[in-house]
C-alpha cells in the first residue's frame, strides 16, 4: 500500500512534466499545424539559460522567470523569423516540420559549443522534509511539480476561456478560414501559440532538470515522453495532453515498481502503440477534419 502510493505520486509528478511538454506541443501543432521537433532542444536551451542565470547568482524566482521568458521569446523568434517567411512563400507543412527538425540539431550543437558536454547538476528548486500521505512519504519536489502542472493547466484553461486572445486562439484551432473572416490576424495568433508553447516546454525542462542531469541531450527523453503523452491524448486535445501525461507517468512508474525498472520505458511505449492501433485518434482525440 505504502509502495503503491509512492508509485502513484511519483508517476503523477513525472506525468505532470510530460503533460506540460505535451501541452506545448499540442498548442503549437493545433494552432500552426506544425509538429515542433525542436521542442526538446528549445526546452534544453531555456534550462541552460536558467542554469547560467543561477550561476551568475540571480535570485531563483527571477532566474527561472527569465529563462521561461527566454523560451517564449525563442518560440516567437522561430515562428516569426523562420516559419512565417516560409509559410508566406507557400512552404508545405512537411517543409515547416523539417525546419523545426533542423533547428533542433542547430540548438543542440550550439548548446554543446556554449556549455560543453560535461554533465552538470541543476540545483533543486524546493527543499524540505517529505510530506506524509498515509503510510507513504512524498517528496516536496513531487508535490511541487504536480502543483505547477495543475496550476499551469488551470491558467491555460482560464486564458483560453476568458480572454480575447484565448478565444481567438481556439477559433484559429477550430476553423482557420472562419477565424480570418472575423478579422483575426493569423500571424499574431501563431506567434502567441509558439511563445506560449515553448514557454511551457521551458518550464517542463526546468522542473525536470534537478531530477536528471543537465547536458545538451538531457531533454530527449522528456521530449519523447511529451510526444507520447500528446499522442496518447490525441495530439489534438489540450486536456488530453495533460491526462495523457499523467497516464504515461503513472503506468511507467507502476511497471518500474512492480516488474522491472528496465521495462519502464518499453512497457509505456508498448501500451501507446497498442492504444493507437485500437484508437488511432488517441484517448480523448477526435479524428481531425481535413482542412481544405
Amino acid at each position: 500500500m505504502d509502495a503503491l502510493i509512492r508509485y502513484l505520486a511519483g508517476g503523477l509528478s513525472a506525468g505532470a512534466l510530460y503533460g506540460l511538454m505535451a501541452l506545448g506541443l499540442v498548442l503549437i501543432y493545433r494552432a500552426s499545424e506544425v509538429v515542433n521537433f525542436g521542442h526538446g532542444d528549445m526546452a534544453m536551451i531555456s534550462t541552460f539559460v536558467a542554469y547560467t542565470l543561477l550561476q551568475a547568482r540571480w535570485p531563483l524566482p527571477i532566474a527561472l522567470l527569465g529563462a521561461v521568458l527566454f523560451g517564449a521569446l525563442l518560440g516567437a523568434l522561430v515562428e516569426g523569423g523562420l516559419l512565417r517567411p516560409a509559410r508566406h512563400r507557400r512552404a508545405s507543412p512537411l517543409t515547416l516540420v523539417v525546419i523545426t527538425l533542423g533547428l533542433a540539431l542547430v540548438l543542440n550543437g550550439l548548446a554543446g559549443f556554449l556549455w560543453g558536454h560535461e554533465i552538470r547538476t541543476f540545483p533543486t528548486l524546493v527543499s524540505g522534509p517529505p510530506l506524509a500521505l498515509g503510510p507513504a512519504r512524498i517528496t516536496r519536489e513531487q508535490t511541487f511539480n504536480l502543483s505547477v502542472g495543475i496550476g499551469l493547466g488551470l491558467v491555460l484553461y482560464g486564458f483560453l476561456r476568458f480572454t480575447w486572445s484565448g478565444l481567438a486562439l481556439r477559433a484559429v484551432i477550430q476553423n482557420p478560414e472562419a477565424a480570418r473572416l472575423v478579422g483575426i490576424p493569423m500571424d499574431r495568433i501563431f506567434l502567441l501559440a509558439w511563445a506560449m508553447g515553448v514557454a511551457l516546454g521551458a518550464i517542463a525542462g526546468i522542473l525536470a532538470a534537478p531530477l536528471i542531469y543537465l547536458e545538451p541531450n538531457a531533454m530527449l527523453a522528456l521530449l519523447i515522453k511529451g510526444f507520447a503523452a500528446a499522442v496518447l491524448g490525441g495530439m489534438t486535445s489540450l486536456p488530453g495532453a495533460v491526462i495523457g501525461g499523467w497516464l504515461l507517468g503513472v503506468l511507467e512508474n507502476l511497471v518500474a515498481g512492480y516488474i522491472a525498472t528496465e521495462l519502464k520505458t518499453p512497457f509505456a511505449f508498448a501500451l501507446i502503440v497498442a492504444v493507437l492501433a485500437v484508437r488511432p485518434a488517441g484517448l480523448l482525440g477526435r479524428p481531425m477534419a481535413r482542412r481544405v
Binding site: A168, R180, L181, V182, I184
Partner: protein, 240 residues
C-alpha cells in the same frame, strides 16, 4: 459618386485553374446587389477575392476609391467588408455566444459587443435561446443565422453572403431573406451570391450574372426578371 466597392478586370484561380476571367463589378453604398450564376460560375471565387481570402492574379479592387487588393482579410474586416462564407463557416465546438463574440474581434470592446449581441438577438431570437449550446449542435438554418449574426457583430458596411439559402428548407430561406431585408433597411449594403435566382432578384436592386468566370450580363433586377433569356436559363420558365 465613388462606388463603395469596385472590382476591375479581376482574374483569379486556384493552382493552375483559372476561375475568374476579368470580372468587373461595383456596389454602391446602400444597394443590394446579387451575384447570380450556376454552380462553378465563379460566384464564390469572386466573394473570396473581395474578402481577401484569395489574391487576384491581375486586376484591382477599390474600397471607396482606395486600392485594397493587397490587404489581408483582417484589414478588410476592419474597413467593414465582412463575408458570410458558403457552408456557414462557424466554430462548431465553441458556444453560440462565443461564436458571436468572436465577430466583435475587430474592436474587442466588451460593452459594444454586448450591445451588438442584443441587436443580433433581436434579428434572430432563437440564438438567444441557444447561447450556451455548442454551435455544431444547431440546425442548418440556425447555423446560417449564427453566421450572419457573427458577421453583424463586426458592424459591416458591406455584407457579403455566399449562398445563404444553400441546403435550407424553403420556409427557413424565406425567414432569412426577410431578415436580410431588415438588415439592409437598417443601413448595411449587401452583395449576395445565390443560385436561387428568383429569390435573389426579389431582394436585389441590381444583379450580375456570371458564366464560366465572366460577367455575362448585368442590370437592374427588374429588367433581368423580365429578360426572356434569364427566364429560360435560370428561372425555369419558358421565355415570354
Amino acid at each position: 459618386m465613388t462606388a463603395l466597392l469596385m472590382a476591375s478586370g479581376v482574374t483569379a484561380g486556384y493552382g493552375p485553374i483559372l476561375a475568374l476571367r476579368g470580372v468587373s463589378l461595383e456596389v454602391q453604398e446602400g444597394e443590394v446587389v446579387a451575384l447570380l450564376g450556376a454552380n462553378g460560375a465563379g460566384k464564390t471565387t469572386t466573394l473570396r477575392v473581395i474578402a481577401g481570402l484569395l489574391s487576384p492574379w491581375t486586376g484591382s479592387l477599390f474600397w471607396e476609391g482606395r486600392p485594397i487588393h493587397a490587404l489581408p482579410p483582417e484589414q478588410r474586416v476592419a474597413m467593414g467588408i465582412v463575408l458570410v462564407p458558403e457552408g456557414r463557416g462557424i466554430f462548431p465546438d465553441l458556444t453560440v455566444r462565443e461564436n458571436l463574440w468572436l465577430g466583435a474581434w475587430r474592436h474587442r470592446d466588451r460593452r459594444r459587443a454586448q450591445q451588438d449581441l442584443e441587436m443580433v438577438f433581436h434579428y434572430f431570437p432563437i440564438l438567444r435561446e441557444r447561447q450556451t449550446q455548442r454551435a455544431g449542435t444547431l440546425s442548418g438554418g440556425e447555423q446560417q443565422m449564427l453566421a450572419i449574426g457573427r458577421a453583424l457583430m463586426a458592424r459591416p458596411r458591406l455584407l457579403l453572403l455566399d449562398e445563404p439559402s444553400l441546403g435550407l428548407a424553403p420556409l427557413v430561406v424565406r425567414e432569412i431573406f426577410a431578415i436580410l431585408q431588415a438588415i439592409h433597411a437598417a443601413g448595411t449594403t449587401l452583395l449576395i451570391a445565390e443560385q436561387n435566382v428568383h429569390l435573389a432578384l426579389t431582394l436585389a436592386h441590381r444583379a450580375y450574372i456570371l458564366q464560366n468566370g465572366e460577367i455575362r450580363l448585368h442590370g437592374e433586377a427588374k429588367s433581368l426578371r423580365d429578360n426572356p433569356e434569364i427566364r429560360a436559363l435560370y428561372l425555369g420558365r419558358p421565355a415570354g
